[in-house]
Subunit: 346 residues, 4 copies
């Protein structure tokens, strides 16, 4: 059994982590911290946990967390980087669901997150926790930067095409859409149901924090910088991300069957990536509550534009589920243990 | 043309007032006040108003508002009672969409709203603005207490039965349901889309502020106190209230056709109450954006329980639309002027 | 391992059964039948099942189903009663999720379902599968009538009060609300999203098929007929039922604490009934995807009306989850096996 | 007063036409036809119309419709083309909200709609009813092909850039999203609330009927063929279309301010196109129930990709509202008469 701590368990990624942790067969959930809710049973805040755990929120403290095998951070950006060095010194392995360790370049990180980075040495060693790319490094990592939700869907969608240099990677377009849980559990007017339901809109068109993250990963795969236009949109539903990707094929005679086959082969050993049959449309509900990314490829009117659609549950494969997938890999557990759930449909 | 001011135009009742005022043919919208948004065009906050008005939010000030013929208060409870006396002295007529003037007994008011009442003399003269009961007094009123949303739907549903003393009025039950706009436009976790959509729940079962308001009106109609259990619920939709009412008939041989006829006759001259044909179910979407209350009566299994279902749009007949209906009556305009809109369906 | 067959697996109760069956550790899913989809992989119809099963829909046939230990019927009313006698003769145990075996009186059944009953002898022996009442009989039953969704929520809500004869059981009121999945997966205009979302309405006020079912169970508990007004409503969400129950206490000095204690004790050994702490409101999202019924009791204004609110997921405790709970009991498995899932929140 | 007939008034575009027609000050609604609902009051089908009209659905018949000044077709594709010739001969002007007269090339029409065209001469003279392009021809047209919903949002979004030849028009991308009312009011499983709410997906990626329509209009503007990838998506809301458009600027030093100014000038005289201030995001709720198209332009990271976001209400500017705008133009009424409504927000 792994002794597990969660720092910052009151947001949606925290809630989803708790949902998965309380039934994971190799996890002993030891601490869930929250300054604001300290002393309160976590099942009082999240009534779905009633009957599954009796533990209460506690104040975050490195000395108690140090007894854990692994600590998850589900905190606002900038929190983990202050506590992680001491935890790592104490031999605790860390999985950060926030953005503190996602961008390798501390200057770029500062530019997008508006803070100096607090521990650039740990930033340097942290492994970007996308198992489909970095499984080997994840095994031995001390610190995992768990990928963002949009980057997970978008990167997995572009990956085979970039790896095989099949597209013009200077004019990539990602038109992405997310359910409102992506905006977090903080009180806000913009995501009140009376505001965000029965509405659809783009946001952050001039620049979203997930843009440099996606570019960094794709550039590493391509071995050179890529050009990407990334436009996120807010969808009036709770969970789910769909990312529609557009690129120009270098060889316009490449058939859609060839492209499909490329994807099937690339992901044939991946337990959580599902390439759909030709013509089948991905839909977010097919992954609601599940850790799966489903992908389809198209070549409309047999032109030279390839279209990829990729769906995930932003809270699972886009956050908590992928975090547990990383934990399973780090501790030599079966990779699917405790996260192999069937999506809730309808 | 009436010179109109709106105090507190940043919530949902304010937004709905503005939607109706900017196209009302006899209204000149002169001031819309908001301390927090002063100086900003109201169409920046509510983009549906773009093209209909250029005016900006201003600081609330009695001396400027005093130039209006009528001032609407769409403020939090306890605000209007501080400004209304001076406005009334200046000859301004007032329609308060908050609760400041709804409960005639200042002690009861204090008990439910937790404040001493600031102007009990004005409270005494204020007219409860339910036109179906108080049309005559509304005509000459200086101050209108615009009814609450639940009380409007519930009172209109019970009214004919109480007026005719046909039911045991000591054990009335009102099981009411409201869309989330009823919870207001303030930032809050409970009505985030990720919390309140795909969810249904009762709230305030032990006592809601609309309970004494409904009891007061029904008691005045009955000429004695009534017993009422009132349980509100939150519905995952933006607009609409449905109130399901249950009572025991004194004469169990009264047929449903007789009861239906009673309702038809009671409301035959009412422009905004629609008694549905026998067997037709009211639905909130049939009044979305409209000032109409639709009502149906049932007598299941021909027993001695009568069931009434009453629907309104909480922001229109339950707030802003009824406020304009009151304004039309007060200023001898056609009662339906500017508020005779077709509900938006689908 | 149990060999399991599902007849009629294309509706929502069927889909939910399949979701739970494919991960149940003691189940071998052998047949899923559908005339219309025969030959098609079930994961093509329900993409959440991709990766969990490869089996295809087959034509329903008694001779193949006869090899199963247990067969579930998730068929329209009137189908199971034609196939069950032959299955039972072949030693197959049956759990019917439709209404064929719910009403003990074949005349009453005909009155509400408009058909002659096809096997009144099996009807006589069938056990009403509400474990909280009939656990012992369920163990040895050959045929289980799995309860309706409204009856489950409503009966569990009234049960302790009726068992202890604490209320006037001649004037019970149940104001119930269901998500749209309760209306089934058949093509229909009324539950198109453009019709049923952003809408709330009562339906079947004059008589719903679940009324006689609830009355039958409560009458058996009370040992005499009960009077019940039952009004269902349609809620714009996918899953969930909330039933608000109203009754007059015989002894008005009974405190809410006493009533709460009564409920706590009645359900203390029940794995799937959760009595909430005083003042906590049940909400449907707390049971989304879970087999739990959560209940709260209130006594507003300390009057003589008791209010109970009971929530379930209509597809789980109200259908497929309860069916598996019954299966677990029938085959001496741990009662919670395979259905002890955490609700999906948010 | 114009005598108006509506053929096929039972779908959503029909319902929306009726909502607008019953309050249009220059319209006498004379006939609304429906084979299936003949004899039934239209307010029985659409309860929002109760109190606004007493007329009943009638059988469609050319001889009665011939007495109208204008007849709207809100019928399935292929119906209008069979009745229009005779109506036109009788001097009736026609506005077809279906696709019968949208594609100028009868062969292309057949390819996408699967039928031979029934009146190619009328097809030749029909005017594509996008007032922002064809206002002059609309004035005198006998037959108007009312544009599709996606084409309206997408064409208005691309128009200034194409007119000024500022982009590479061989690689246009339109990632469009529509609410479920776009799928129509026919019974179908795919748009049941339990299927389409809490879900997001692309559809018809390999080719949607609105693709040739958009290409035809843009090609006419550009004076040569354009290359367009068009991917529609289904959004879990009732009303609204957002179209996100991507193109490569020919001159990458063109500033976003210049582009914005271009749009402002192009649409300065258009009553129903609103170019938003720089940085403001269009959102579909800002046009819910209104005839307005709101547009914003972006140039992310100051690269050479221009992004345009365009929103409309698919049932208003995308169908019924635009049809009335065309009627107003055809009959020399004020262009905004009867359709200058404030969007319903929240």
């Amino acid at each position: 059994m792994l002794a597990v701590g969660v720092v910052g368990g009151t947001g949606y990624t925290g809630a989803e982590l708790l949902r998965l942790l309380v039934t994971h067969p190799q996890v002993e959930l030891r601490y869930v911290t929250s300054r604001s809710e300290s002393g309160i049973p976590i099942a009082d805040l999240f009534p779905n946990l009633r009957g599954f755990t009796d533990i209460c929120f506690t104040e975050p403290a490195v000395d108690t967390l140090a007894s854990c095998d692994v600590v998850f951070f589900a905190t606002p950006n900038g929190t983990a980087m202050k506590m992680v060095p001491e935890l790592v010194e104490n031999g605790v392995r860390v999985i950060d669901l926030a953005a503190d360790f996602r961008l390798k370049d501390a200057d770029v990180w500062k530019q997008w997150y508006g803070m100096d980075h607090a521990c650039t040495d740990i930033l340097a060693e942290a492994v970007y926790g996308l198992p489909e790319i970095n499984r080997t490094q994840i095994r031995s990592a001390r610190v995992i930067a768990n990928p963002g939700c949009y980057p997970t869907a978008t990167t997995l969608g572009f990956l085979p095409l970039i790896e095989n240099a099949m597209i013009d990677d200077q004019h990539l377009i990602a038109d992405a859409k997310s359910g409102v849980s992506g905006a977090g559990r903080g009180a806000s007017v913009a995501t009140l149901q009376a505001e965000s339901s029965e509405n659809f809109k783009p946001y952050a068109v001039d620049g979203h924090r997930h843009l440099p993250e996606i570019r960094q990963t794709l550039a590493a795969v391509a071995s050179h910088d890529v050009g990407l236009t990334f436009v996120p949109h807010l969808v009036p539903m709770i969970r789910g991300i769909e990312s529609s990707l557009y690129a120009t094929l270098k060889a316009s005679d490449l058939s859609v069957a060839d492209i499909h086959q490329l994807y099937v082969e690339r992901y044939s050993d991946e337990p959580f990536v599902d390439v759909l049959a030709p013509g089948v449309m991905p839909e977010t509900r097919s992954v609601k509550g599940a850790n799966t990314c489903r992908i389809a490829v198209f070549k409309p009117q047999d032109g030279n534009t390839v279209v990829v659609s990729s769906v995930i549950d932003n809270l699972v494969k886009g956050a908590a589920g992928q975090a547990l997938q990383n934990m399973n890999i780090m501790f030599d557990l079966e990779e699917t243990l405790g996260i192999n759930q069937v999506a809730l449909l309808p």
